[in-house]
């Protein structure tokens, strides 16, 4: 599903975030990405929806080399990769419903279709009763769940999350991880960068460990 072949990433300014990364994530797999701060976890994740382009090597999604993807096709790649961020990236001037609806609006879906899918996604993350609330009135865990609902509302085949539990207490973190497990169980390839080693160990999925831009093990 996701294949990295000799991928290097050098940021403008000389920072070498990745130094020759080879790995493969199978369709439907659930994978954690770990490593010390600055190891290149975020960079690795950002290469998948082409938020960054690799400096060397190839990234392939479903066998297709992203290096050959013209700029105007990138939005369609991103629609197939649900993204979740530590800081949620919600729009504070729109309510929960509208935030979750955004990917459907972008895809040009009709009103009824949008209403049905948004409510289904909010139901799945347990926030159906908050659809009219503003994100700023929600707790950190609730905001993260809105972010997850937005990422899955279009049923993308791939889900990537960069420290989705970074600001949450252990109980909430566990809840969020269970949500990811549920999506993974219906076939979504899920890649999560996290520092929460004890939680990751307890879940028992494959772990990709990066150090200084290289694959240490996994």
């Amino acid at each position: 599903m996701i294949r990295f072949e000799g991928v290097g990433k050098q940021y403008p300014g000389g920072n070498e975030a990745l130094r020759g990364l080879d790995l493969h994530i199978e369709p439907g797999e659930m994978v954690f990405v770990t490593g010390p701060s600055g190891a290149g976890k975020s960079t690795f994740l950002r290469l998948i929806p082409l938020l960054e382009r690799p400096s060397r090597g190839r990234v392939l999604i479903d066998g297709a080399d992203l290096g050959g993807l013209p700029g105007h096709r990138i939005p369609y790649l991103r629609r197939r990769v649900g993204m979740i961020f530590q800081d949620h990236r919600l729009l504070d001037d729109r309510n929960v419903f509208d935030n979750v609806a955004l990917p459907l609006i972008i895809a040009g879906r009709g009103r009824d279709d949008i209403g049905r899918r948004v409510r289904a996604a909010l139901d799945k993350v347990g926030l159906l009763h908050k659809e009219h609330a503003s994100p700023v009135t929600l707790s950190g865990g609730e905001q993260q769940r809105v972010g997850i609902a937005r990422a899955v509302v279009t049923r993308p085949p791939i889900l990537i999350a960069d420290e989705p539990t970074g600001n949450l207490d252990p109980a909430l973190s566990q809840e969020i991880m269970q949500l990811f497990e549920q999506f993974n169980q219906v076939g979504v390839t899920t890649v999560i960068a996290s520092h929460d080693l004890s939680l990751i160990e307890s879940l028992g999925y494959r772990r990709i460990h990066l150090e200084a831009g290289r694959l240490a093990w996994g």
Binding site: L51, P75, Y76, R78, L91, L102, P103, I105, I106, G108
Partner: protein, 309 residues
């Protein structure tokens, strides 16, 4: 995805961008009011000039329709001479019709038109001469008109001959000048409208930076991100165009009285026309086009800079 489904989605995207941009646009009445006022004035001014030149052109066209030679007889010429001159003028090849205005008729008309009856009543004798007005055949060359003028002036008892040709030439020159000035003003103000809309939308883009980033992050195409701002440009153009029409109506209403009097003094000229349906549509259309152009300018320059983090 079938063609119908694709079209349906495209339509839905436009419908939504139009509606949302209109909603957001209405949420900022003061800033919008100011920008709209600038656009309205900038459209109304050249439109007013064009209406003016239109009317002036109509006046000159009317005159061109029947160029006239006014043959003034010497004051106190005998009545028999009036008739004789009229017949002589009528007999000329280049003249198609003749009207004799006797001194008392001229005085009466003058009193009525200029409202100067008291002043004229103080005069003991009628100072006005008889005039023979001959309509000149159309399409006469300048040299032929010169020859005609010479022959008319040579008739007995003729004091002076006036052909309204010079007047017309002057009027045409003025019209051409006003037309050119209107064009200059129009293009300068069109540029101003584009820049004003462009700047307003640039600020708009800056304010909505977070939303733009997130849209791009989750798969919004450039067209999707661009669309609401282009619609905003259209709303500005439409509002500015409507305001310009309103300003023009008020202006024409204010001009109506004096213009009618002027038209009455110059016999045979229509009172000035307002903006007809086609001019109204032109004004609104210009507003829309300039608003869209301003939006394109802002969007092209500032939207590409915003890349998702």
């Amino acid at each position: 995805m079938g063609l119908m489904a694709a079209m349906k989605r495209g339509l839905e995207l436009h419908r939504r961008a139009a509606r949302e941009s209109l909603e957001q646009w209405r949420q900022r009445p003061v800033a919008n009011g100011l920008t709209t006022a600038v656009i309205g004035i900038a459209l109304a001014l050249p439109a007013g000039f064009f209406i003016l030149t239109d009317n002036l052109q109509a006046v000159s066209a009317n005159w061109q329709g029947a160029p006239k030679a006014s043959v003034f007889l010497v004051p106190g010429a005998p009545t028999a001479s009036h008739e004789a001159t009229a017949r002589a003028v009528e007999g000329m090849d280049a003249i198609t019709a003749v009207e004799l205005i006797r001194p008392d008729e001229a005085l009466e008309a003058f009193e009525k038109a200029a409202g100067m009856s008291e002043t004229l009543a103080m005069l003991e004798t009628n100072p006005l001469p008889a005039v023979v007005v001959g309509e000149i055949r159309q399409g006469l060359a300048s040299a032929d008109i010169d020859r005609l003028t010479g022959r008319l002036a040579a008739l007995p008892d003729v004091d002076e001959v006036q052909v309204d040709r010079e007047w017309l030439q002057r009027l045409n020159a003025v019209v051409a000048m006003v037309d050119r000035i209107s064009l200059l003003i129009a293009s300068t103000l069109a540029l101003a409208v584009v820049l004003v809309v462009g700047n307003t939308i640039r600020l708009d883009i800056e304010n909505r930076r977070a939303a733009i980033e997130i849209s791009k992050l989750i798969g919004g195409t450039d067209a999707f991100v661009r669309r609401p701002f282009l619609y905003t440009g259209l709303w500005y153009g439409a509002a500015g165009g409507l305001l310009a029409l309103f300003i023009l109506m008020i202006g024409l209403l204010a001009m109506a009285g004096p213009a009618r009097e002027l038209a009455a003094l110059y016999d045979g000229i229509q009172p000035p026309g307002g903006p007809g349906l086609s001019s109204a549509l032109t004004i609104i259309g210009s507003g829309l086009a300039l608003g869209l152009a301003g939006a394109w300018l802002a969007v092209g320059r500032h939207l590409a800079e915003i890349e998702p983090r």
